[in-house]
Subunit: 387 residues, 2 copies
C-alpha cells in the first residue's frame, strides 16, 4: 500500500486516444474520417454482424461520407489465413483506413491485416517484438466484449494454422489510433462470453499488477479494473443490468491500459499454447489458470498483496499473509459465483498434452515479466493443479 | 468508494507517449530524432540553463545528429512577446522540432512557439478552446519541476502583457508527442519551488478529482497523485531525498494526466487572474486557495470524499462527514508542515483587486468544470477567506 514503493527505474507508457460512451458506435464514422480515411475496411465477425452492430457502424461510416467494405471472415482465435485474405481484400478494394469491430478476434485480425497491408509478406514474418518497419494505415478499434484489451494494446495474437500455435506480435504500431468503447454492444453478448471475457480482463489486471514491468502508471489502472470487476462481474453475468455491463466495459479498458504497458505473466504464457492447440475460448482458459498462478506467485509479490486485496473489496488494513488469503478467497468466489469453468479437463484439454503446453509456454513472451521464475517443471505443476 | 459510481456518460481520454526515469534527459536526443526532426529549437530558461540541464539536453541532441538552437528568453508566467520572439527564432533558424525543458513557463512557451510557427498570427488569436487549425511541429517536453503537468496536458497558459491577464489555450494539438520526465532534474530545484510546484500538482489532482468532467480513467491518476504527494511532499521539501523527489515527479505526471482530461475548477479559475495581475508563482497561489476552495466544494462532492480521504492517508472507512473533516485536516497539515504560504496578502495581492480577480475568474474556462457553481460574489468570498 505504500506510495513510495519501488518500481522500474525507467519506463514508458503509451495509450491510444480513448473514446468511451453508450451509443457512441454510431459516431465511429467521425473517428475514421478524422484519421483522414476515404474507404474503410470494416473487420468484424458473423456474430457481431448478426447482432446488428456491424450495421450500426456501416451506417455511421457512410453518414461520414466514407465508402465501406465489410470483411467478416474471422473466427475465434483468428487465423493467419483469415488475416491474409483480409489484407488481400484491403488492397483489392483500395481501402485506406481499418475499423475493427468485435471481440479480440476481429480486432487482432484487423491489426494483422493492417500489418500485411503496409508491410507485405506473411503474418509469420512479424511474430515477436518490434518487427514491423513500415507505418500501418489508420486504425479504429471498437470492442464488443468485456475482456480483450486489444483495442488499447500493443499486442496482436494470431493463430498459425500449420504449427497450431498462437503467435504474439508486439509493437507500438499495432496500438490503434482510436479506441472506441460503446458499452451498449455488451447487451447482445451471450452470457458465457460476458463471463469468459470478464475473466480475461481480470487476468490482464492481475498479471499486469504482478508484472516485473509494472509501474505507478499501470498499477492504478490494474487496481481499478479489479475493483470494477469485483463489484460488477457476478451481477453482470446474472442480471445483465446496463450499469454492471458498463462497469465491465470500463474494467476491460483499464485492464488493457495496464497490461499493454506492464505486459503479462504465466496465465497468458500458458493460455496461448492451450488456445493454439485446442481453439478453446481464451477467457475461459484464463479463468481456470488464474487461481493456480496467483498461488504460485504469492511469495514473489508479498508487498503488493494488500493493495490487490483492497481492490477485491477488502476494506481494512492487514498484513501480507491475511491479504494473500483474501486474494485467493475472493478470486475463488468470483469464479464460483459467476459459474466460470474450474478445470482444464472441462475445457477439453488432454492430460497427455500438458507437458507440450508447458514447453511452449517457456518460449512465450509473456513469461518474461512473470514475478516468479518458472521453468517447464513448475509450469507443468501449475497445469496439473488446474487440470 | 463505490466502483459503480456514476460518471459522465461520454468521454475521451488522451495522453502523449510518456517516458519516465532517472538520468533519461541524456536520451532526449533519441526522442527528438524519432519524431523525424533535424534541427531543434530548445526552449528553456536561464535558471534551468545555469543548473546545467540545458547542456545535458544539448549534448544528447547533438549526439543524435541533430542541430540545436537554444532559446532561453522565457520568464516565469511566460509572455506573449517571448512566444513571438521564440517563433521568430524558430522560423529564422529553419528548425523543425521543438524541445521544451523546464517548469511550466518554458514548456508553455514551447507550446506557444509551436502554435505560431505552424499557424502564424499572434498568440492572442488562439486563446480559448480548439482554435488551432494547422498541425504543430513535433514537440518533446521535459519537466524540471514537480507541478506543472504541461508536459502531458492539452493546455498552454500565456500572459497577455497588455491586458495583464493569463490566456488559456486549450487544444489537443498542444499536448506534446513525447513527455520525458527525468526526476534527477528536481535535485537542483530551489526548495521554495519544490514546495510551490508540488502544491500545483496537488491542486491539479484535487480539482480534477472534483471536476464534473472526472471519469474513472482520470480519477485513478488523481488519487494516485494525492497519495504520492501526501507521502512525499513534506519530506521532499525538508530532506530532499531522491526517492521523495522521484515520487513528486511521478505525482506531477499522474496529476497532469488527470487534469488534462478532467479539466480543473475554482482554484485555477482564481489563480489565473491573480498570476496575470501580479506575476506571482502559480503554485504558491494554489497552495493558498486550495483549502478555501475545498471547503466551498464540500457539499457538492460528498460521495467522493471518502476516496480522497483515503488518498490523503486515512486508512479506515468512514462516513462522508468524517471524510470531509479528514480531507480538510490533511490538506491544512501538508501546508503547515511544508511551510507553504497561507494568505494572498503574503503573496503581495492587494485587497482592492479582489473583486477584479473574482470578475475575471468567472470568465476563466476552468470555472466550467467546478463541481459547485460560483458567481462573482461566491468567488470574492473565497478570496476574502484566503486573503
Amino acid at each position: 500500500m505504500e506510495a513510495g514503493k519501488t518500481y522500474l527505474s525507467h519506463y514508458k507508457f503509451e495509450v491510444p486516444e480513448i473514446v468511451f460512451g453508450r451509443g457512441l458506435l454510431s459516431r465511429v464514422g467521425l473517428c475514421a474520417r478524422r484519421l483522414g480515411g476515404r474507404k474503410v475496411l470494416l473487420v468484424t465477425d458473423p456474430g457481431v454482424r448478426r447482432a446488428g452492430w456491424a450495421d450500426v457502424a456501416i451506417r455511421s461510416l457512410k453518414r461520414a461520407d466514407l465508402e465501406v467494405v465489410c470483411f467478416d471472415d474471422v473466427t475465434e482465435n483468428p487465423k493467419d489465413v483469415e488475416v491474409a485474405r483480409g489484407a488481400e481484400e484491403y488492397r483489392r478494394q483500395g481501402a485506406d483506413v481499418i475499423v475493427g469491430l468485435g471481440g479480440g478476434s476481429p480486432m487482432d485480425a484487423a491489426k494483422g491485416i493492417a500489418i500485411l497491408a503496409a508491410n507485405g509478406g506473411r503474418i509469420q514474418d512479424y511474430e515477436g517484438s518490434d518487427r514491423i518497419h513500415r507505418p500501418l494505415p489508420p486504425i479504429v478499434l471498437c470492442p464488443t466484449t468485456c475482456g480483450t484489451g486489444s483495442d488499447v494494446s500493443q499486442f496482436a495474437i494470431i493463430n498459425d494454422t500449420e504449427r497450431r500455435c498462437k503467435m504474439t506480435i508486439m509493437s507500438r504500431t499495432v496500438a490503434p489510433d482510436i479506441s472506441l468503447t460503446d458499452p451498449d454492444t455488451l447487451r447482445t453478448l451471450p452470457e458465457e462470453y460476458v463471463c469468459s471475457t470478464a475473466f480475461d480482463a481480470l487476468s490482464h489486471a492481475v498479471e499486469a499488477f504482478f508484472s516485473v514491468a509494472a509501474t505507478s502508471l499501470t498499477d492504478v489502472h490494474a487496481i481499478r479494473a479489479v475493483r470494477l470487476l469485483s463489484a460488477s462481474l457476478v451481477p453482470a453475468v446474472r442480471e445483465r443490468k446496463d450499469g454492471d455491463l458498463e462497469n465491465l466495459a470500463r474494467a476491460s479498458l483499464h485492464a488493457g491500459m495496464a497490461f499493454s504497458n506492464a505486459l503479462l505473466g504465466i496465465v497468458h504464457a500458458l493460455a496461448h499454447p492451450i488456445g493454439g492447440l485446442y481453439g478453446v475460448g481464451h477467457g475461459s482458459i484464463n479463468a481456470v489458470l488464474l487461481p493456480q498462478v496467483i498461488r504460485y506467485n504469492l511469495s514473489a509479490v508479498t508487498e503488493k498483496l494488500p493493495e490487490l486485496a483492497w481492490g477485491l473489496g477488502h476494506r481494512s488494513e492487514g498484513d501480507a499473509f491475511r491479504a494473500s488469503e483474501i486474494v485467493q478467497e475472493q478470486v475463488d468466489l468470483l469464479i464460483d459465483r459467476s459459474g466460470a469453468p474450474r478445470s482444464l479437463r472441462r475445457l477439453g484439454v488432454r492430460e497427455e498434452d500438458l507437458s507440450l503446453v508447458a514447453q511452449r509456454a517457456v518460449e512465450d513472451t509473456c513469461i518474461l515479466t512473470a514475478p516468479r521464475e518458472a521453468g517447464p517443471e513448475e509450469l507443468q505443476e501449475i497445469l496439473v493443479r488446474a487440470f
